[in-house]
Amino acid sequence: MNLRRDVFQAIADPTRRAILLLLASQSLTAGAIASNFDTARPTISKHLAILTECELLTQEQTGREIHYHINAKNMKEVADFIEPFRKMWDDRFNKLESIMKKYKTKK
């Protein structure tokens, strides 16, 4: 399996990204995860299954409940987590550059 490609497919979906973000700070049960979304519970279950298959999430049985955790090892491979941050600064700096280029010619 081409894990890397699958990981990127997994995070291409906004709901799945939201789930990962939710689990970044705590582990939760499927029910608790679903309660954060307006989406139907079976849809959330499907997203959880995909994320687990891609090994971005791991399941842990505690009593009768299953908790979902972020698989930190694989998340690190997704360095693109900070890509939106880089892009935000790149866009700002591009704007700065074009504004100041005009400023220069105006003078």
Binding site: F81, P84, F85, R92, F93, K95, Y103, K104
Partner: protein
């Protein structure tokens, strides 16, 4: 496309480095940080206060499409024209607290220059959360869009 802005964020550290080269003389780059009017244009914020001096400070305000206002503010510790700015930065009403920023402006040639930004957060966890923020906002925006569409369908 060439990636002009570089982010250096080593795992497990509470700091990041942002570097960028500009096709501008260093004094023009500095001016973009110095003059409130220009800051407003490229940062996309309103500048409520910008006091460029040692023990000066700044207050920026942005609003989202729903009209919610966000305040960004800080204190200026060093202000050396065309060379450096040392300041704190805080997004008010967020749990992230204050971060320390060292901005260095460096000429490369007469018409090009480089900005080095060294940002230090209180902890590794806070740094990682802040780095993920634009990612999170992207999600919220997508969600808001979905909600808007659903509302129209009703």
């Amino acid at each position: 496309m060439e990636r002009k802005t570089k982010i250096d964020a080593e795992n497990g550290k509470q700091e990041i480095f942002i570097t960028r080269e500009f096709e501008l003389p260093v004094d023009l780059l500095f001016k973009a940080y110095e003059e409130a009017e220009i800051v407003e244009q490229w940062m996309g914020t309103r500048v409520l206060k910008l006091e460029n001096k040692r023990q000066g400070g700044y207050i920026f305000e942005t609003s989202d499409p729903k009209g919610n206002k966000y305040i960004f503010s800080g204190t200026i510790h060093e202000f050396v024209p065309n060379q450096k700015i040392t300041r704190t930065f805080e997004m008010e009403n967020t749990p992230f607290g204050v971060q320390l920023e060292f901005l260095e402006f460096e000429p490369i040639t007469e018409d090009t220059c480089k900005l080095n930004m060294h940002v230090i957060y209180r902890s590794v966890e806070i740094r990682d959360q802040v780095l993920k923020l634009p990612f999170a906002q992207g999600i919220n925006m997508a969600h808001n869009r979905i909600q808007d569409i659903l509302r129209q369908l009703k």
